[in-house]
Subunit: 411 residues, 2 copies
């Protein structure tokens, strides 16, 4: 069960002009599973993406990078679950290429206009024949109202589908932004996330979209962790179809409004992954401020967010908060003066100063810490006391079920 | 239950000339627990140590560093469990100083000749009065045959005590080396370990001992991980009393023999910590070779050794070995050519090539991987294919019991 997350119903997800989505059962790894998703984009759409920094990146990630380098006029996305097509060497590249070729043939476009994505088990080869055989079925299901199906079609160990949708008025036109994401484990995105797709029917120049996708990733998917394992297949794609009949660039009066809405949707999708983190029972926001720069705030946030000791203490609502100090201390700031750091804990509108001057805060009582930690949404706030930079990392707790899910994942 | 580790019996631990050890129940945090250990060193002994790099280092660690900077003529060590005296600010420093003062008064030495150590819960203040009240009882128990008691006296979540002892002949004299260690969780030593104490009755010049303790730590405690959490209290101390009547320096014909024996004992103590890792059911050696330098081999070894996904797969004996590739890929070698990497898995004399050319090895079968992973001692061998550097990291698997132990630790 995800933490404070109610998955959207089909009618809550607005169609995005220029985008149609279709799902099929292709038996990639198991029978009777919607495991193949096709997304078709109207001519004139532009796309941009960011991808995992894992050196063992999947074959489809390599192909996506190459296709986006060739041109931004992407016309289709194809996504399979079950097998990640990562750690598959040259045969994996051939499988990803063959999938793109088949989609191109089916839709009458060029293979370089297809972006392929895979997610699932690493080190196993993609059964290209079954994927290709499933494509016409996915094509037959293509529809503008297909976002809900697609959100379900890209799930693996996710317990719920993840989608978000918003609309705003720009120059008298209704602009829609809808996105989906997946992921629950192997989550510590490095420049991107497991899988995230976000589309708007506003027109956005390709170069600007490329800047925006990086900025949005940095403020959403690049701020989350479940287990600290950076996936081989992380991909986050932003699409602008222009079908709403309005184009927006940095000079447009409503650019900031559109931009913050797009980033807001990306953040909602990213947080949904943490809320559905494998075995998660609590959603933890780690706000790190007072840093010399954002990078050191991120280091501290991730040290806390990854610490198995901190995560198990939160699972137990045990205010064993010295574990947070320990994580701050080993985060990698070699000249940190711990006597200037402060730590607060809060939930449900109650905030307690836990630590200051390198030790326990005078007024802090364990009963308070314990009460705050019992909530499902908890914030850890840290002041490093050495500057003005700040950032927030979202994480979850670590329960028996994380071990259960990951010891049993393939069986 | 530790993995393939039989704790030593009292008669297996040789006394070290010049060293006496005594243990007492001081009720530091709970009643009826041997939680205070005093180690007395004869005049003429020298000591050297390495300590945690955690910025939130414990008050006793700060005091140890200061005392060892003042002089190497250490005469006593005092160790309490229950409370780590870390994250305790200025009051913590006063508590550690008061403990040293009390030991000095009791033994008729200077406070700067006392090294204090604490281990247990962070963020709680040491009850100095109860520690000081316990000291005369520990003193009354001082004996040369006290190593077994001391090994038990420094345990926290350890399920077994950890000690090792060896003897060798140098210039017709019997030289003894005996050591103890503790630790099971919050284990990812950075320049040192949880707690490790190693003494020899050979004489070793102070400057040389200081070099040796660093080298020994780098080849033992700095090669292990349980959960990736670097403790606030890591300390590793090496003592040379000279009581055997033989002094050895780098020019001595048997220096290399003594040195490798000392490092061997340190390694045995370090591995014992992993074998008794919280919830551990398997002991995993990660041999990384073919690196450009040792540091990148360490990065890869630790990425694998820390990955919750790899650790849970080993717990389940599930050959989901793409998770190892993923960890290699995100370990931080930005120019790694994965097509040159190779991964082997072995246990009980059987070795299988799992991955090569960036993909699954041609002859590899899952049944083989599964069979190898069922053993309690498993080796992962990696060739990075880019140089001649190599290193080995020791780790363990990740089970339900890790969560159980750490969610319940204080209750």
């Amino acid at each position: 069960m995800p933490v404070n997350y109610t998955p959207s119903t089909p009618d809550q997800l607005h169609a995005v002009g220029g985008v149609r989505l279709g799902v099929a059962e292709a038996e990639v790894r198991k029978k009777n599973r919607k495991d193949l998703t096709l997304i078709e984009l109207a001519p004139g759409s532009v796309a941009a993406g960011v991808f995992t920094q894992n050196r063992f990146c999947a074959a489809p990630v390599t192909l996506c990078r190459s296709h986006l380098a060739t041109g931004k006029d992407i016309r289709a996305l194809v996504i399979n679950t079950g097998i990640a097509n990562a750690g598959t060497g040259e045969p994996g590249m051939q499988a990803a290429q063959a999938t793109c070729d088949a989609v191109a043939k089916l839709l009458g476009i060029e293979a370089r206009q297809v972006l392929p994505f895979s997610t699932g088990v690493i080190l196993e080869l993609l059964p290209t024949d079954r994927v290709i055989a499933g494509l016409p079925k996915a094509q037959a299901n293509l529809k503008a109202a297909g976002w809900h199906d697609a959100a379900q079609g890209i799930m693996t160990t996710d317990t719920v589908h993840k989608a978000a949708s918003r609309q705003l008025e720009i120059a008298g036109k209704t602009v829609t932004i809808t996105g989906i994401s997946k992921g629950a484990g192997m989550i510590r995105p490095n420049m991107a996330t497991m899988l995230g797709f976000l589309a708007t029917d506003a027109g956005i120049p390709a170069a600007l979209l490329e800047k925006l996708v990086k900025e949005a990733a940095d403020q959403s998917f690049n701020c989350i962790t479940v287990d600290g394992d950076t996936s081989t297949n992380d991909s986050f794609i932003m699409i602008a179809t222009g079908a709403a009949g309005v184009s927006v660039d940095e000079k447009h009066a409503q650019w900031n409004e559109l931009k913050s809405t797009l980033i807001g949707v990306a953040r909602e999708l990213a947080q949904a992954i943490v809320r559905d983190g494998e075995g998660a029972t609590k959603f933890i926001s780690i706000q790190v401020g007072g840093g010399k720069n954002t990078e050191e705030c991120r280091m501290v946030g991730y040290a806390i967010g990854h610490s198995p000791l901190v995560k198990t203490a939160f699972f137990a609502s045990d205010p064993n908060l010295g574990r947070i100090q320990a994580a701050i201390g080993y985060a990698g700031i070699s000249d940190l003066d711990v006597s200037k750091t402060r730590i607060w804990l809060s939930s449900n509108g109650e905030e307690a100063l836990v630590s200051e001057h390198g030790g326990r805060a005078a007024g802090y009582e364990e009963a308070t810490g314990s009460r705050i930690m019992k909530a499902a949404e908890i914030t850890i706030r840290i002041d490093l006391g050495r500057g003005n930079a700040e950032t927030t990392i979202w994480s979850c707790d670590f329960s028996y079920d994380y071990v259960k899910i990951n010891a049993d994942y393939r069986s």
